[in-house]
């Protein structure tokens, strides 16, 4: 397999807090999803991969280059697209100007070719028709697509997307997943999310991150298999389960160690994710054991 990103034992500390604590990541062509709760270190990891933040320790090679070396870093940046969390643009710029500005920074110097490229990426994300609208007049979903558009400038080999589906309504999220899936053909996409549906919909690989470490690396199907034989339904809630919640009329969906004779069902990615994260993972899930 064509592995484009090799990260081993990455460490990044803010004061005494370790955002990354010996994290390993290997990503190949396709869409790799980083799944983890808030504060797991996903954003820090993506900022390191985007060469914005230097890691304190650990090994990192991207596209056969070392991001610590200035020449290697520039080489990576030329082949990288990055959508940060809360991607911002000058609100007084039009959509076209905002992307054009990033295109200049991405070394597209010839004006005509640059403008053509800006139009191409705006068209890809379905924003061609609002190119002359001011950024401040765009909806949240449009701004998120604008962020993706600038990341696609120059057909990068690596795309780093931080929580690209946050703040989108269900329909926009569907469209965005399509865009990301399309973008994932022939290049390496790393995206972070805390939505297991995103992983199921678009990812070819998944890495579960918690506390600055990776707990699991594999395909979405392999992730679901982790919970094989550990998901069951019962009429009453079992307090020993890792997580349990009500489904339908009077049934409870359980994840954890099933009692003898339990009615086992096929596991989903979400079951495996909750199992890996352990008891506190169910926060925000409703009823927690």
């Amino acid at each position: 397999m064509n592995t484009t990103i090799h990260a081993t034992g990455l460490v990044k500390a803010y004061g005494r807090q370790r955002a990354l604590d010996g994290l390993d990541l290997h990503a190949r062509t396709g869409v790799t999803g980083l799944l983890g709760p808030n504060g797991a270190g996903k954003t820090t990891l993506l900022r390191v991969l985007a060469t914005v933040l230097p890691a304190d320790a650990g090994g990192l090679r991207m596209l056969d280059q070392d991001p610590r070396d200035p020449a290697g870093r520039r080489h990576i940046r030329r082949r990288l697209g990055y959508l940060p969390q809360d991607a911002g643009f000058h609100r007084g710029f039009t959509a076209f100007e905002a992307v054009d500005y990033i295109a200049v920074l991405k070394e597209h110097t010839a004006a005509r070719a640059r403008h053509d490229e800006v139009r191409r990426v705006l068209d890809l994300v379905g924003l061609a028709d609002v190119a002359t609208k001011k950024v401040r007049a765009l909806s949240g979903g449009m701004r998120q697509r604008l962020g993706l558009a600038q990341a696609l400038l120059g057909r990068p080999e690596v795309l780093v997307l931080d929580e690209p589906t946050v703040g989108l309504d269900p329909e926009q999220r569907m469209r965005f997943r399509d865009l990301v899936s399309d973008a994932g053909r022939g290049r390496t996409v790393i995206l972070s999310t805390h939505q297991t549906e995103d992983v199921a919909a678009v990812c070819t690989d998944v890495v579960v991150v918690k506390g600055g470490r990776s707990l699991f690396t594999g395909t979405p199907a392999e992730l679901a298999e982790v919970a094989t034989g550990r998901v069951w339904v019962d009429d009453a809630r079992d307090p020993r389960a890792v997580a349990a919640w009500r489904v339908g009329a009077g049934h409870y969906h359980h994840v954890g160690d099933p009692p003898a004779g339990a009615e086992l069902i096929a596991p989903s990615i979400e079951d495996a994710y909750l199992l890996l994260l352990g008891p506190q993972a169910g926060e925000g899930m409703g009823e927690v054991a």
Partner: protein, 186 residues
């Protein structure tokens, strides 16, 4: 995204007027539909007044840039054909002011030699009555002056730039043309 067939279907139902209000709102997609609808006939019609295709292309480009800026001024209802031509012919006049053409393409002897068929002239008669026959008997120079001022609706000054002759000449040619036509149509 719509497929091309669907897109065309939708496009046909939208009037020029509706497209122009969308253009006025900043929709470049609406401008493209309008362009695809009108560019061909405008290019051919401009080509009959300017022999240099590069100038014609530039004028067509200027026309649609002007449409983009002035779409809000359209008050013509559903069809924008006449409005677009009005912009295009004035852009051509502007282009000629910047760079006067070598010569206005008057009809060649060969074209003049071919008689228009009886059927064609009958069709013309339906639209323009005796005028067609009368026009036909004007000299090419007088006809060009009539075409520029009457049919294209240009002022004397604009017509003089289009045809590359002094404004005074246009005036005298129009006087002569009027005299001939009056006699013919009397």
């Amino acid at each position: 995204m719509l497929s091309t067939a669907e897109e065309r279907h939708v496009d046909e139902q939208v009037t020029d007027g509706a497209l122009l209000s969308a253009v006025a709102q900043g929709s470049s997609a609406a401008l493209e539909v309008l362009y695809r609808r009108h560019a061909s006939w405008l290019i051919v019609r401009l080509g009959r007044r300017c022999a240099d295709p590069a100038v014609v292309d530039e004028v067509l480009q200027d026309t649609f840039v002007a449409v983009w800026k002035g779409a809000g001024k359209f008050r013509g209802g559903d069809d924008a054909g006449a409005w677009l031509w009005g912009i295009a012919i004035r852009r051509l006049v502007d282009a000629f002011r910047r760079q006067p053409p070598a010569a206005y393409p008057l009809e060649s002897a060969e074209v003049l030699g071919t008689r228009e068929s009886a059927e064609d002239l009958v069709l013309l008669g339906v639209e323009h009555g005796d005028l067609a026959g009368a026009l036909h008997r004007l000299s090419p120079e007088l006809r060009a002056a009539v075409q520029a001022t009457v049919l294209d609706g240009l002022t004397t000054r604009e017509a003089s730039r289009l045809l590359g002759v002094p404004a005074g000449t246009i005036k005298t040619r129009m006087m002569r043309a009027r005299r001939v036509l009056r006699k013919e149509l009397a």
